[in-house]
C-alpha cells in the first residue's frame, strides 16, 4: 500500500492497527514525513484556501432553488466563538491591559498590515502578514490588504470578523474599503443588510441599535437589506439601513466621516517591497514568450520562466510616458495593466535627464541643456508622469521609481566630457533630480531610489566620499527634504556581483593585496556591490545633512548571475595575483568598466524583498534580453526609429579607451540599438543564469 492510501485510511478512520504500525515505520524517512505533514497541512488549511466568491455563489443557489439553506453559519460554531471570546477575554485581554482584542484561529483571512496605529499590537508592523479572524479595536485604526487586493480600514471603536478575503462581517463601528478590479464582489455583512461592491471605494458604519450607514465615494455598490430590499448606490450616494425597517433614509455621502481610513490607502511604507505583488510588464512577457517559441527545447522552457518575474518599465523619453511614436503603451497603459493583474506595485525608471548619459552615446537622451532642456524635463516629462500617477485609480499601487541612472555619478568622474561639464556648470543634473523627486514624491504611494552607479565606478574612497557629499547636497535641496528619498540603487543595468564568495579585497597573494591588481580592482576599496553600497549608506546616514537611517538599498540583479560552466566553485590555487583573482572572481568581464551587452553574463538572483541587512530588495530593473546599445552604427531608420547613437563600448571590435583601461569591450556582436530585443544575448543570459532556471513543470 502506498503512503497516500495509508494516510487516506487514517483520515477516514478505517486504518487498522497493522496500518498504523506500517505508517509509523515509514515516518522514519524524511520523504514520508513530509508527505504526512503536507497532507495534514492541506487538510487543515483547505477551508480558508477556498475562494469566498464560490461560497457566496453556493449560498445564493441554495436559496433560489428552494433547497435547505447552506449551513455555512453554523449555530455550533457561532456559540463556540462566543464561548471562545469570553475565555480569551479572561486570559488575554486582562493581561494586555486595554490593548485591542485580537484573535486568530484557523479560519479568517491572511491580511497584510498596511498601517496600524502604534500601540495596537507589537506584531502589526507595516508589511507584516497575519491571519485575522476577529478584531475588536478599542482605539486607533488598522489598514490591511486582503488576499483579494481589497484595502480594508477599520476605525475604533469597532468589532469585525473577517470571514475570508472577500467577506467581512461588521458588528459595530466603521470600516472603509478600496476595492481593485480583482476584489469586485467584496461584501460587508452588517446587522441591517449586506453591502456588495461593484468596483469602488466605500465606507460602512454600524451604529447604535444596529442602524447601518453606507457611503459610496467612487464607483457603485449594491445593498441588500435584511428585508431583501435591493438598492444600488453610486458615487456620492449614502443610505441608512434599519435592521427592522430596511432603508430609512437616502443622503449625500460624507467622505470625511471615513476620511482617516481612506487616506491610509496612500500610506507611505518603509519598505514597499514587503508584501508587494509587482506588475509583470505585459510587453516584456510577450517578448519573452516570442523568444521562447523561437528557441524551443530546454532553453525555450527556461526562457518562459522569465515571464513570472517583474521587471521595471523604462520611461526613457517623453514619448515613452505618453505612449506615442514608437511606444504603443505609455505609463497609463502599464498602470492599467498592473491593476488588471491585481498587482499592488510597479517599478518604473525615471530616465530622461537633459544631457543624459553625457559620457556615453548609446543611451544619451533627447533633451539638451542648451535647448531649454531643464524646463522641458520639468513640464513635458516629470509633470506628464505626475499627472498620470496622481489619478485616484492608481492610488492602490506602490510606484517604485529608480531615479536617473548614471546622472549624478557622472558628476564625480566624467567632467572631461563636454555634456557632463555643461550639466555640472549649470547645476542641471542636481536640479533635475531634486525636481523629479520633489514632484513625484509629493504623492504618498511613490518611492524614490536614486541611482548610485556601482562599485567598479565609485568604489574608491576618492570617488565615494565626494559622491556621498553630492548626494547629501542633493537631498537637502529636495522640496520636503531628504526624507523624500526612500533609498539608493546600485548596479542598475550592470553586471557587478552582490558579493564575491571566494576572495576578499584585503586578502594577500604572495604579499600582494587582491585589491591591488591594477588591471582589475586597481586599489578599489570595494570589490563588490554589498560592500560598496553599505559603505555609501553609512557615509550618507552620518554627519551633516545626513539621510535618515531608514533608507534602504536596492540591487539590480537582472544580469549579474555569472553562472554557467565557467563559474568558479572555490578559490583558485594559483599563487600569481592576476591568475588568482581572474580565476576566483565570479565576474568574467575583461574590465570592470565594460558594461555593454557583456559576453558570458547570466541572469542573477530573482527579485525578492529583504535579501540582506540594509537591503529593501533585489530587483530586475533592466529587462534581460533588451540590448544596451548597437554593436555597430545603425543609422536612423526602421532598425533605429528613435535615432539612437552608437557607443563603441558596445562594439566587440573596439580596442577600448581610457575608461576601460584600453581593453577589449567584451560586448556581444550583432547587437540591435538600445532597448531593442537581442535574442542571442537573451539566450546567453538564460544559459548562464545563476541560480539556474529549472526546466521541469513548464512554469
Amino acid at each position: 500500500m502506498n503512503m497516500d492510501e495509508l494516510l487516506e485510511r487514517w483520515r477516514d478512520g478505517t486504518a487498522t492497527e497493522a496500518d498504523l504500525r506500517e505508517l509509523t515505520a515509514r515516518l522514519a524517512t524524511p520523504e514520508h514525513r513530509d508527505a504526512l505533514l503536507e497532507d495534514w497541512l492541506v487538510e487543515s488549511a483547505l477551508p480558508r484556501a477556498l475562494p469566498a466568491a464560490l461560497v457566496a455563489e453556493q449560498r445564493e443557489s441554495a436559496m433560489t432553488s428552494g433547497t435547505k439553506p447552506s449551513p455555512r453559519v453554523e449555530p455550533k460554531r457561532w456559540s463556540g466563538w462566543l464561548h471562545w471570546r469570553q475565555l480569551a477575554a479572561a486570559a488575554v485581554f486582562a493581561a494586555l491591559l486595554g490593548i485591542s482584542a485580537l484573535w486568530w484561529v484557523q479560519r479568517g483571512a491572511v491580511v497584510e498590515i498596511v498601517k496600524a496605529t502604534s500601540g495596537i499590537s507589537a506584531e502589526w508592523s507595516s508589511g507584516s502578514r497575519v491571519r485575522l479572524n476577529e478584531l475588536k479595536l478599542v482605539r486607533g485604526e488598522v489598514s490591511m490588504r486582503l488576499a483579494s487586493g481589497v484595502l480594508l480600514t477599520v476605525t475604533a471603536p469597532a468589532e469585525v470578523k473577517l470571514l475570508d478575503a472577500m467577506q467581512v462581517r461588521l458588528f459595530a463601528g466603521r470600516v472603509s474599503a478600496v476595492v481593485p478590479v480583482a476584489g469586485r464582489g467584496f461584501a460587508v455583512e452588517t446587522p441591517a443588510g449586506r453591502v456588495i461592491d461593484l468596483g469602488t471605494r466605500f465606507g460602512v458604519e454600524a451604529g447604535p441599535a444596529n442602524v447601518v450607514e453606507v457611503h459610496v465615494f467612487e464607483g457603485r455598490v449594491e445593498v441588500t437589506t435584511s428585508q431583501k430590499q435591493h438598492l444600488q448606490l453610486a458615487a456620492g450616494d449614502a443610505a441608512s439601513l434599519d435592521p427592522l425597517q430596511g432603508i430609512t433614509n437616502r443622503m449625500a455621502a460624507v467622505e470625511t466621516k471615513f476620511v482617516a481610513g481612506v487616506k491610509t490607502a496612500d500610506e507611505h511604507l518603509d519598505n514597499p517591497f514587503v508584501g508587494a505583488t509587482f506588475y509583470r510588464n505585459v510587453d516584456y512577457t510577450a517578448a519573452v514568450n516570442a523568444a521562447a517559441n523561437l528557441k524551443g527545447g530546454v532553453i525555450g522552457q527556461q526562457m518562459r520562466r522569465l515571464a513570472n518575474y517583474p521587471t521595471f518599465v523604462w520611461l526613457d523619453s517623453i514619448a515613452a510616458v505618453n505612449g506615442t511614436g514608437s511606444h504603443p503603451r505609455g505609463l497609463a497603459g502599464h498602470l492599467d495593466q498592473a491593476l488588471l493583474q491585481g498587482a499592488n506595485a510597479i517599478g518604473i525608471v525615471i530616465y530622461d535627464m537633459p544631457n543624459r548619459d553625457g559620457s556615453a552615446l548609446a543611451s544619451n537622451g533627447e533633451l539638451l541643456i542648451a535647448q531649454n532642456g531643464l524646463n522641458r524635463y520639468k513640464t513635458e516629462y516629470i509633470h506628464a508622469i505626475y499627472s498620470i500617477l496622481s489619478q485616484p485609480k492608481y492610488r492602490s499601487l506602490r510606484v517604485v521609481m529608480v531615479i536617473e541612472p548614471d546622472s549624478l555619478p557622472n558628476l564625480i568622474t566624467n567632467l572631461n566630457f563636454p555634456r557632463v561639464a555643461e550639466a555640472h556648470a549649470t547645476g542641471t543634473y542636481v536640479q533635475g533630480v531634486q525636481y523629479a523627486i520633489g514632484k513625484l514624491r509629493s504623492l504618498d504611494n511613490t518611492y524614490a531610489y536614486i541611482d548610485v552607479a556601482h562599485a567598479g565606478w565609485l568604489g574608491w574612497g576618492s570617488n565615494l566620499k565626494p559622491f556621498a557629499e553630492l548626494l547629501k547636497k542633493v537631498g537637502a535641496g529636495i522640496p520636503g527634504g531628504n526624507s523624500k528619498v526612500d533609498g539608493f540603487i546600485s548596479n542598475t543595468a550592470n553586471y557587478n556581483v552582490f558579493a564575491e564568495p571566494y576572495l576578499t579585497a584585503d586578502q594577500k597573494v604572495k604579499a600582494r593585496q587582491v585589491r591591488s591588481l591594477k588591471s582589475w580592482y586597481d586599489m578599489n576599496d570595494h570589490i563588490d556591490e554589498q560592500s560598496y553600497a553599505n559603505a555609501l549608506r553609512t557615509a550618507l546616514i552620518t554627519g551633516r545633512d545626513a539621510y535618515p537611517a531608514s533608507i534602504g538599498l536596492l540591487l539590480d540583479t537582472s544580469r549579474n548571475g555569472w553562472g554557467g560552466p565557467k563559474r568558479p566553485t572555490g578559490p583558485s590555487p594559483s599563487t600569481d595575483l592576476r591568475a588568482f583573482v581572474r580565476e576566483t572572481t565570479l565576474d568574467k568581464r575583461t574590465h570592470k568598466a565594460n558594461s555593454g551587452n557583456q559576453s558570458g553574463a547570466g541572469i542573477g538572483a530573482r527579485p525578492v524583498a529583504n535579501p540582506a541587512p540594509n537591503y529593501d530588495a533585489f530587483v530586475w530593473v533592466k529587462p534581460p534580453g533588451q540590448s544596451d546599445g548597437s554593436s555597430s552604427l545603425i543609422p536612423k531608420g526602421p532598425e533605429n526609429p528613435d535615432g539612437k547613437g552608437f557607443d563603441r563600448m558596445c562594439d566587440p571590435t573596439y580596442q577600448g579607451n581610457a575608461l576601460n583601461g584600453h581593453t577589449r569591450t567584451g560586448a556581444l556582436p550583432n547587437a540591435p540599438v538600445a532597448g531593442h530585443w537581442f535574442q542571442a544575448q537573451f539566450e546567453e543570459l538564460v544559459r548562464n543564469a545563476f541560480p539556474p532556471f529549472s526546466v521541469n513543470g513548464g512554469q
Binding site: V42, R72, L96, G697
Partner: protein, 184 residues
Amino acid sequence: MSAESTAIQQAAAEFIRDRHLLGAFVGGLLRDVHAAEDVLQEVWLRLSAEVGKGTRIENQPAWCRGVARNLIRQHWEKQQTAKVVAGSEALAAFMERVEQCFAETDHLEHFATARLAALDECVAALPERSRRLLSLKYTQRASMDDIADEVGQSFEAVKKALIRIRAALLECVRRKLSQEEPTI
C-alpha cells in the same frame, strides 16, 4: 506594561506564527474540525496562563504539542468510538512518531508558509467543479450524503472524486515546491 503581559504578547506572536503546523498536528490526529478547534483554544489558554504566571517556556512549539497530545488523548478517552482503541500501543507509537515528525520541522522557518502559498495557487488552478465539491466539504461542512444530493451523484462517486481532487492538490503543491524560488 508589565513583564508578564509582554511575555504573553511574545508567546501569542510565536503561537500565531506556528499556528498552521500546530493546527495540522491537532487536526491531523483528531480528524474532527470542531474538536480540533476546541483543543487549539485550550492549548492557548493553558499557554497564556502558564506564561502569565511567569513560567519561562524553552521550546514553545514542543510544549504546545505536548499539551495538545494530552488533550487529544482525553478527547478520545471520552469518545471511545475510534476504530483504533485509544489505549492501543500502535496508536501511542504513531502519535509519538508524529510528534517527532513535527518537531523535526520546527527549525524550517518556511515549511508551512511555502506549502500554504502553493496551496492557494493550486486551489485557484482547480476546475470550477472540483472547487465546488471541496467548498461543500471543507467550507460548508456538508455531510457526504448532502454533497451527493447537491451534485446529483452517488455517495461513492463523490467520495472518489474528493480523494482524487485532494491527491491532485497535494501533487500540485509538491510540484510547486520543487521548482519555485521566492519572489516579489
